[in-house]
Subunit: 442 residues, 2 copies
């Protein structure tokens, strides 16, 4: 506090940081009324010099070195928006150790260093708020952490990556191939030049690890999330699933909780077309939290973009500012992390799920029988078999294939993987089948 | 605080109160871990003697007189679940004046006495939490009040009454008439024996007044909400709107904000069938908050029932308990009510909306021309006219009628009301038309 105002230091001023500055410029009076205190953007640290307008009549100091901001004893709240692991992690830990409060949008640092960050926060009696780290502007972190606090969380799932959802939407609705849809996402600004972080499910795994850690009070690590990327997804399967099975392909992050047991995974999942998630399009995100008392609660909104994410960051800054101004910051922790809480991470192997398998036969004679025999041999109960007359061309070969789709009843993942592996020995199949999970989300 | 535990007094132990007791019994250890303090249900006040099991090894005291609970100096938190205006209002105010914190699910008391309650809370430095008052278990109150705090709220709307949504769902999906759907709602436990409070939109108006007051920082009174009930809703229009216009009928509570101007209303509204609200069925609730930074954020879940509402109440109790245990309760107000904030409540008259009008002609000859002339005379631009060959029987008459549906472009409510009034003079029309508003909710 200085001159009766809570002093804010912004570290990192890219897309979201600019959004934060814009909200402060536009709504400062309203924000101060709601927060019950004056707010003063004291510092902006950024690699590149920014032309910064005065906010509330005061122009923030500028530096290229974030240490200047953390070293200023007047600064109460550090807003970390650098992204990536370093120096972001050091910024957060240094800020806490300097007795400051932190707001961050950094899912990678949180997911990978949950224990260190929240142990440090407990030790320094500091607060780390991170609403923007999951679901952009949607207040799902607070909803899970506080609004549904009375509940034992039994399951949570979400569409938490805008890039993959954008790609799947364009494929599903417009029949774009994966590569064209990815290019469209890049043109629309929803995918990075190197999109692997999103496409491979790493970003979604970070977000799921954060939500699952909040839900359990322990630490679900990124490595604990069974993760499969979006690559090699075929347009044919998306179309077939929608038209013939009434199922929509979504990249889903899902965690089940049962006592100390956690089963967390990110992969392409077929969900019923009448589920609300089927209408979550493009860059929108959604999350469902299932609590033992409340049942399903869904949150939905823009999961990406400067202003939605900045909305979450500034809301965090406002709670922090209220607590700083009231002299109460850090008296109560925000995250109930219990370092002694041991979680048992389940292997996918034994998990019972429904599966979609699409085999590609060079020639159908005898192959259908061979495939169904193989499935049965692994004790997997078949729900339906679809032989399609239409042919398809695998992306990497010229030859035409006949698709054979097998939809299973609930079967252990391990048995299905074994069957897939063994299917490579069947002559006349092009390669491993396309393998998607099916969730009724009932 | 007594014996290191936060002391809770439950006043009113009906459906939701029983849910609260059940959650405390089931999850006490988890709740205490999350709240960071022991919780002790010290009292239950109820008109009828309840057999109460011990919770955490301690059996709560029982009384038929709520004053016993408020008079106990050890009680920290009063949970008011009586419902209705009195004595609930007196319970809340007495609890605040006795220096206690309050959690309540009582939308009627809050909506009707917002100013008195939050002025008293500010004076006594008490907190009143009320997540269960709107949207049952959905944390929309907190989301609006805190999670989206950085935003200037420009619009909010919701399906906030489970009874009317249940009735409309059964009518729309199963072709039940209004009276049959209402009976079904009563059998399913989603409508009271006297359903007028829900059917007439009073319950929804209470909830909208609460959300609008939170959004503005002022007080939007129940009387400020333009309200129309669900009565006289015809199955024919629901079917026609869905099949021919791609619109779904929902009882919508909606408020628009522009500076100090507020326009709030509750009535049956036709919305696009691809809007997420179209999939909000039966007793489910949903709300969309539109903030200037975040855009649309939607919350969805069970809006009624013992356990969802109790989830919200117990979550409120947990925040309160954390603050009590930390010695910080009331240091910061929960609701930013500003008694000096003057709002300008807009009259519906000048509001531009799209309208659906269904006239019933005893005989079509000349009537279509008369109706369209009348509409044009009032400067209302017509989007489409539908003459249907099928006939319909008005509920109160035996004669058959030919429906004439007029869908307008945006037109002032006042002009449409004037046209409706004048239409009574056209001979051969059965009565006033069915009048519904259309919202694209884009």
């Amino acid at each position: 506090m200085k001159n009766g105002a809570v002093q804010i230091g912004l570290v990192g001023c890219g897309v979201v940081g600019n959004g934060v500055v814009r909200i402060l410029q536009k709504n400062l009076e309203l924000l101060e009324a709601k927060a019950g205190t004056k707010l003063h953007l004291a510092w902006v640290a950024s690699r590149r010099k920014k032309p910064l307008p005065p906010i509330g009549g005061i122009r923030p100091l500028f530096t290229k070195n974030w240490r200047d901001v953390v070293a200023d004893p007047d600064v109460d709240i550090i807003v970390e928006l650098i992204g990536g692991e370093e120096p972001a992690k050091t910024v957060i830990l240094s800020a806490l150790k300097a007795g400051k409060q932190v707001a961050t949008a950094n899912k990678a640092v949180l997911a990978r260093h949950w224990e260190e960050i929240f142990t440090t926060a407990q030790a320094t009696r500091g607060l780390v708020y991170f609403e923007a780290a999951v679901g952009g502007g949607i207040p799902v972190v607070q909803g899970l952490n506080e609004g549904l606090a009375a509940n034992r969380i039994q399951r949570l799932y979400g569409i938490v990556n805008g890039t993959t959802n954008y790609i799947l939407t364009r494929m599903s609705e417009e029949g774009l191939r994966f590569s064209a849809a990815l290019k469209a996402a890049q043109v629309a600004g929803f995918a990075e030049a190197d999109p692997s972080f999103d496409i491979d499910g790493v970003d979604a795994a970070h977000k799921l690890a954060i939500l699952a850690s909040l839900a359990t009070g322990g630490w679900v690590k990124v490595e604990d999330v069974h993760r499969e990327g979006l690559t090699n997804l075929d347009l044919w399967d998306i179309k077939f699933a929608r038209r013939r099975l009434g199922l929509v392909a979504k990249s889903l992050a899902l965690a089940d909780f049962n006592g100390d047991e956690v089963y967390a995974r990110v992969h392409t999942t077929l969900i019923p077309e009448n589920h609300p998630f089927a209408t979550v399009r493009n860059e929108y995100n959604a999350a469902v939290i299932h609590g033992d008392a409340v049942g399903d609660v869904m949150f939905y909104g823009k999961g990406a973009g400067a202003m939605p994410s900045a909305s979450a960051v500034v809301s965090d800054v406002m709670y922090l500012a209220r607590q700083v101004a009231g002299g109460m910051a850090g008296r109560l922790p925000y995250v109930m992390f219990d370092g002694k809480r041991k979680l048992k991470i389940l292997e996918p192997k034994n998990k019972q799920l429904r599966h979609y398998l699409r085999f590609s036969a060079a020639d159908r004679t005898g192959i259908l029988a061979a495939v169904t025999q193989l499935i049965s041999k692994h004790d997997i109960s078949i729900s339906s078999v679809h032989q399609e007359d239409n042919t398809l061309t695998e992306s990497d070969v010229v030859k035409k294939f006949v698709p054979i789709v097998i939809v299973t009843h609930e079967a252990p993942e391990g048995a299905v993987q074994a069957a897939i592996k063994e299917s490579r020995r069947i002559r006349g199949l092009s390669r491993s089948p396309v393998h998607l999970r099916i969730e009724s989300l009932g």
